[in-house]
Subunit: 350 residues, 2 copies
């Protein structure tokens, strides 16, 4: 059986079973957005650790990406994982796999973007590794953050009755990906691509490509949510709202229902999604790369928490649904009253 | 200019200049085997962090490697970096880049080997990432260790008059690499390959392939050397003795001379090196992947330190030369009295 046939999530479960059990200093191991480790630099602080990679041909096309954007993005996607635990990012190591014939200027641009993003978020790049690859550039980044132990948010804390909230807007990066290849090409997301002119204004197209190429990790928002001690669970929306909400609900052992009419999705996004996929909610639910924060909290805290994030960061927060008792039928409630199941999350081998 | 034309070490210097300066909690940043970070879990402890990758087609051939060996090795090469600082390895994260058509059994074998090596050295694998790659498997590993601050050894502490010592034996893994492709093939190291039968006994060939496929990181030896507080500098020999000694001497701002007659090289290794490269010292000086520890200490401590390592671990330690004042002509002193310059270290784009 190949890894493609087995699938990403089944593979991870198999691999986890082949490793020795963790000791008590590993508060959270494989299976959440970050590992949580005892041994912070002050009493009450824990370390958070995560890694994520950008691979040529899977995550980006070398001829279509600005190297500065790529450098920013490889840090941003890791920052988003630290943010999803409510943490503060601290130290990064970078592992580069470079083909011999790659222009050095490309790597310099990549590091310029990485350095700027690191400076913005107070991250120190403390080491790394350079290796030659026969073909297919990759940039792998390992990020260490920290948080007060009592403020770390996991996927697993949601309780029936909690509200489900999300920062910012959904589906824009996926719209940007659908635009990337143009009307004649095959979209990487497997969507049909509309004939030009696209049925949405130019300024939305620019916003969508910006969200695709320059994702903004919600680090400050994550810290506000963690520090509030009002939230019960959190995850970042990297693989599509449906899949990531599915992970959060599953890890928490609960059900959930969100309402389409509440989703923070631009009207232009729904138009473009309908034109390219036949489903106006497709980008918002299954698109991926939003890097918004999805979190839960008791109903009486939802308004206060949303206000607090907006006041501290300017980022809107939307209440999109509720956590249900385990076994209760959930999913997406459409405006016409139909309840649609979420379907699976993004499988990187699917 | 391509990265191949610029070269690995010049590229790293350029990239380092594009990053923001580090703060005081970064005791050692880019440029040593490990990063050294303030904030250990107890007073007096510091964190060590490193990463290293195994890339298909650069570090291994999928059809020639046992997946268990590959899993062991990707951890072992990182363990060797922690060992070279005198540290104790603690936590690992693994970033896998997998082609869709890879057999799941290969990844399982890889994790079985990784898990066994992790258990042997008390390392906990706490997280990771799985990504799809269009082609060319890679396994990238990030390793965190710790050490008492006063016992951390860097490349930069060697002083004129110090002795230069090395654990174990040199050149065996390189001999194994030369054997890998057989008489008809082109050796990955660019060496000529002798006609069979090889001019050395079968048991040496087995030992050489073992050193190539199952390197033994000198973690216990590194801890003994660090804890002794007798050594002044240390590095692991991963890119060949000449290159890594060059790094240590350069970082310390000193010169150095080693004596060929003192090098711990098997006679069979010299025979095979002469037959395949024309130079009996080639594998020992330039071969790479020895994963021995190369360290310096005051002359009066050399015998004691060598004894202590041997008694605690069974691993022999050999005194191979001395550290010289900066500017003094150094290199390899041959038995006939000639002094040969080391030449450069292994450049991964060379």
């Amino acid at each position: 059986m190949t890894v493609g046939e087995l699938g990403e999530f089944a593979l991870i479960r198999v691999l986890q079973g082949l490793l020795p059990a963790s000791g008590p200093e590993v508060l959270v191991g494989i299976g959440d957005d970050v590992a949580v480790l005892e041994g912070g630099r002050q009493d009450g602080l824990v370390w958070l650790a995560t890694c994520d990679v950008q691979v040529e041909g899977s995550h980006f096309l070398r001829e279509a990406v600005a190297p500065e954007d790529l450098g920013r993005k490889v840090l941003a996607v890791n920052l988003s994982d630290i943010a999803s635990a409510g943490g503060t990012p601290r130290f990064a190591l970078v592992s580069l796999g470079l083909p011999r014939d790659l222009e050095a200027a490309f790597v310099e641009g990549l590091y310029r973007g990485l350095g700027q993003e690191a400076a913005r978020f107070g991250v120190q790049v403390v080491g790394g590794n350079v290796s030659r690859v026969p073909q297919g550039l990759f940039i792998d980044l390992f990020l260490i953050g920290e948080a007060p132990r009592e403020e770390v948010l996991l996927r697993s804390g949601a309780r029936p009755g909690d509200r489900i909230l999300v920062t910012g807007t959904l589906g824009d990066a996926a719209a940007g990906v659908a635009l990337l290849v143009g009307p004649s090409g095959r979209s990487p997301a497997g969507t049909r691509v509309p004939q030009e002119p696209f049925p949405v204004p130019q300024d939305y197209l620019l916003r969508a490509t910006g969200r695709r190429d320059r994702p903004e990790p919600r680090v400050r928002e994550g810290r506000v949510i963690g520090a509030s001690r009002l939230a019960t669970a959190m995850i970042d929306v990297s693989d599509g709202l449906a899949g990531d909400l599915g992970h959060l609900l599953q890890c928490s052992g609960v059900g959930g229902r969100i309402e389409a009419s509440r989703l923070p999705v631009a009207p232009e996004n729904r138009l473009l999604a309908r034109a390219t996929t036949g489903d106006e909610w497709h980008f918002a639910l299954h698109g991926g790369e939003d890097y918004e924060l999805l979190f839960t909290c008791p109903p009486e805290a939802a308004g206060l928490l949303a206000d607090r994030v907006r006041e501290a960061t300017g980022t809107p927060v939307t209440d999109i649904g509720e956590v249900l008792e385990p076994g209760t039928p959930g999913g997406l409630l459409l405006p016409d009253g139909r309840l649609v199941e979420f379907g699976g999350g993004w499988d990187h081998f699917g």
